[in-house]
């Protein structure tokens, strides 16, 4: 007999999900390309003038990040639900909250982190002042994990439904509003040379809150969904 190791199970789920992402590259690349394309649509549709773009840039980048996250959310539990792996995960001695945390982390590494890496380039493209770029990165670093965590609750609730996609966006987007407001506001304020510590603290608070509560909620929702 050996004791069940939580960290080993966590790492096993995390590395399995990363390996799966590596083997289904298109699912990973599509939301990222979507992010880039949505951002590039704005200068074409509104105006290429730097003054206009500069004021819109924080909002555009953050709305595009939200939509691109939404596009990749379903991947978190859908295929596991369909092929029966989710049942196996929930029947295993590993607590469901740990399963959720590992899968959320894998989701963020695969779809949140790439947004972070490509956002500075898009910031420059939208004429965002260089001074605001570090703030943009900070808000994305604090905000995108919240998107993955809160999204996990939505996916866990809708994964048992045959066409849960539209419901998922209706459920999750309103919950993303606080992140959107504080993040876009912080980037806009720093572009104007104002202090942004307040907004960043709020985002940090949201991250801690969702880190501690979302896994519990998502785990409970998953149990209902596989019922």
């Amino acid at each position: 007999m050996r004791y069940f190791s939580l960290s080993k199970a966590f790492m096993a789920i995390l590395s399995r999900d990363l390996l799966l992402a590596l083997r289904r590259r298109s699912e990973v690349v599509n939301p990222l390309l979507f992010f880039v394309i949505v951002v590039t649509l704005f200068p074409l549709a509104i105006s290429p003038s730097q003054a206009v773009l500069q004021t819109l840039a924080p909002g555009i980048i953050w709305v595009a990040a939200l939509l691109s996250t939404l596009l990749s959310l379903e991947r978190m539990f859908r295929s596991d639900f369909e092929d029966g792996s989710l049942e196996q995960l929930l029947l295993s001695p590993c607590p469901p909250t740990v399963v959720v945390l590992a899968k959320v982390l894998a989701h963020w590494l695969v779809s949140g982190l790439p947004l972070l890496l490509i956002a500075p380039l898009l910031g420059v493209f939208l004429a965002l002042p260089t001074a605001a770029i570090p703030t943009l990165l900070f808000t994305l670093a604090l905000g995108t994990p919240v998107l993955s965590l809160v999204g996990a609750i939505g996916v866990a609730l809708t994964v048992g439904l045959r066409r849960g996609g539209a419901l998922l966006s209706l459920l999750v987007l309103p919950l993303y509003l606080p992140v959107l407001i504080f993040a876009a506001n912080a980037v806009a304020a720093s572009a104007d040379g104002l202090a942004v510590t307040g907004q960043l603290y709020f985002l940090g608070g949201l991250l801690l809150l969702s880190c501690s509560l979302a896994p519990l909620a998502a785990a409970a929702a998953l149990k209902i969904s596989i019922h």
Partner: protein, 204 residues
């Protein structure tokens, strides 16, 4: 070891069965019979704790499985209609993952478990190139990588060839002789000694 009291299950608003009192002792194999849609799968899912029963209670070693989820989850293994196999991963990768999530040190390792089911040549092939029967065998190999005492098997013989059916039947015998319990649904008649073979007819 496994006991149910007044167990009842519903699917949607339909009552599938109610008032089911079961007692399964160590070393016994319970085969559940019944027409399609009579609730065999629901009963199995309820017994392993995936679905909440509408009424009644389930006890594993005299403890309610709802009260003691973590101990029970180390003691039960469920192989359902879906194989729980990731198509992008190889047979060995799938089993290594299953092993990482179990709490015990089994007698078999991944290579031996696959060899037991005659899948040595398929060890490193991605599961999407395997046939349905081969994937089923990979899923059933998980039974060897686990020391769970309660096996809950939903139609394990589906898609298996003659040889694998033999292997699976031997595994059932061995598990029972080691004092394990099996709850199984199958339309296939399993050759078992009458003293360990219990049968339940659902939907009458």
């Amino acid at each position: 070891m496994l006991r149910t009291i007044d167990l009842g299950c519903e699917r949607g608003d339909r009552i599938l069965f109610s008032g089911l009192n079961l007692q399964l002792n160590a070393g016994e194999i319970l085969q559940i019979h019944g027409a399609n849609g009579c609730g065999k799968t629901t009963l199995l899912r309820t017994l392993c704790g995936l679905t909440r029963p509408a009424t009644g209670k389930i006890f594993w070693q005299d403890l309610d499985i709802r009260d003691d989820e973590s101990t029970f989850s180390e003691d039960v293994i469920h192989i359902g209609h879906h194989d729980g196999i990731k198509h992008e991963l190889s047979a060995a990768e799938n089993l290594h993952f299953a092993l990482a999530l179990s709490a015990t040190t089994p007698e078999f390792d991944v290579t031996q478990a696959l060899a037991h089911f005659g899948l040595t040549a398929q060890t490193h092939l991605p599961a999407y190139v395997l046939s349905a029967g081969q994937r089923r065998r990979v899923a059933l190999s998980r039974l060897l990588l686990n020391n769970a005492r309660l096996w809950v098997l939903d139609e394990p013989f589906t898609a298996l060839d003659k040889d694998s059916i033999g292997v699976m039947e031997d595994m059932l015998h061995q598990h029972a002789s080691k004092g394990g319990c099996v709850v199984i649904t199958s339309h296939h008649s399993i050759p078992l000694a009458p003293d360990i073979h219990r049968e339940l007819q659902l939907g009458t």
